[in-house]
Amino acid sequence: MAEITVKFDDKVIERIVTEKKRISIGRTHDNDIVLENRGVSRKHAMIEFNDNAAVIIDNESLNGTFVNNRKISEEVLRDEDTITIGKYALIYHTQSTGGDEMAGLDGTMVLNTKKQKEMLERDKVERRIVEQHGGSVLTGEENCEFAEYRIDRDVITIGKAKFVHVKAKGFMLSGIQAKIVKEDCGYSLVNLGRKNKTSVNGELTERTMLKNGDLISVGKSTFKFVEGKD
């Protein structure tokens, strides 16, 4: 009997063993596997089980279905394949693992569930923010003058000059320290001023394509990039 292990943020949150011939995956609760994340379409994909094979079919979802990091529309699954949908990873096993990854770790599981709830809650908040603003947003995390800043133009300047769009704090920071630029397929962060003052998720950068949830630090100020549909 086949098994699907669902992971969120690298933690196992669900193990599904099924005898159904077809299971649906999506954001709404009428799916067999419910993935509550705004990167997931309502009816995102389905897996069909034949005698000895399983086939995953993407349901023309907005953000796509990936198997082993390759975007697919229809794909035969092999043992241990990783299906990525939104922030979730689904591992396909031809045989039930018996829940090895979950076994014997009841305490941890409780913690994980709590953590997952927090993550889902955070995701819901982010979804509300981008829906409210109608596009991508920076949220102020540390040493910021705003809670939410809508990225409403092609170039946003960040620094300590009076005229920049987003003020940042910090010693020896340049007037215009960095910019966020709209590209064909998203936004990138570019360092403009003094070196070693701009980082993404703790790593110094000169230029980085931004992903949803990235933490941008300019000097002592930190912002989170929350991607919307621009």
Binding site: F163, S174, R194
Partner: protein, 242 residues
């Protein structure tokens, strides 16, 4: 305090050197630069370095703004776009760091300084007519403002009853009841049919504004620009000053 105000150098090192040496003879306390140090000419790096050494306040011009990638190149005409590309290829990391630290406007010695227009300084509006200057006057509080951008030395006067006049650049002894916006002209690419470099000296005690014009070796600059493969239109305009 005697202030020299220079603007729109545009990578013309010979013109900048000639102006600085002329200023040297005028017993000036400080030099302020109103931006557009780079663009068009063939010595952007050298001009940035020399301005950084010589000037007290240095403002951001639209050409520096473009070099930082903050203005769409598609908004420029073909000659300006080519010249921007050439300039950006020749700027060092430390040049860009210098530019990233410039300000858009400044207030000093009871005067206001900006590159283009006191209204939305980062939108680079031109002030060529009195109706445009009136909007400018609404956006700073000092009696006198100095700017550049159009490369044409000019004076806008705002009279107490609210009327505004525009005149070509000329020396003034300001009337205490009037306000002024003074375009100091361009060091590196004058466009008022006088090819000599233009700059202004302002005396903060007497409040006198004096225009200065300086000759430089235009032929040498044109030779260097042609050698650097810079568009002929930009080379030729230096000799006629337009």
């Amino acid at each position: 305090m005697k202030l020299a105000l220079i603007s729109d150098i545009h990578g013309n090192l010979e013109a900048l050197r000639a102006v600085l040496s002329d200023i040297d003879k005028q017993d000036v306390d400080k030099i302020h630069c109103l931006g557009d140090i780079i663009g068009y000419g063939c010595n952007p790096t050298e001009c940035l370095d020399l301005v950084a050494q010589s000037c007290d306040i240095i403002l951001l011009g639209n050409h520096e703004y473009v070099a930082l990638g903050l203005l769409e190149e598609s908004a420029m005409n073909e000659v300006a776009r080519q010249s921007t590309e050439w300039t950006c290829d020749h700027l060092s990391d430390s040049n860009l760091e210098t530019i990233a630290n410039l300000d858009l406007e400044a207030s000093v010695e009871n005067t206001y300084l900006v590159h283009a227009c006191p209204y939305e300084p980062d939108q680079w509006h031109y002030m060529l007519r009195p109706e445009e200057a009136v909007v400018g006057f609404d956006n700073f509080i000092e009696q006198i403002g100095f700017f550049g951008h159009s490369h044409v030395p000019m004076i806008f006067t705002l009279y107490p009853q609210g009327t505004c006049s525009a005149k070509p650049g000329h020396d003034i002894d300001p009337d205490p009841d009037c306000r002024y916006l003074v375009n100091v002209g361009s060091v590196g690419q004058p466009r008022d049919l006088d090819p000599r470099s233009s700059y202004v000296i302002y005396d903060s005690e007497s409040r006198d504004v004096r225009f200065h014009r300086v000759e430089y070796d235009i032929g040498l600059v044109q030779q260097k620009m042609t050698k650097a493969n810079i568009h002929s239109m930009l080379v030729e305009r230096l000799l006629v000053g337009r």
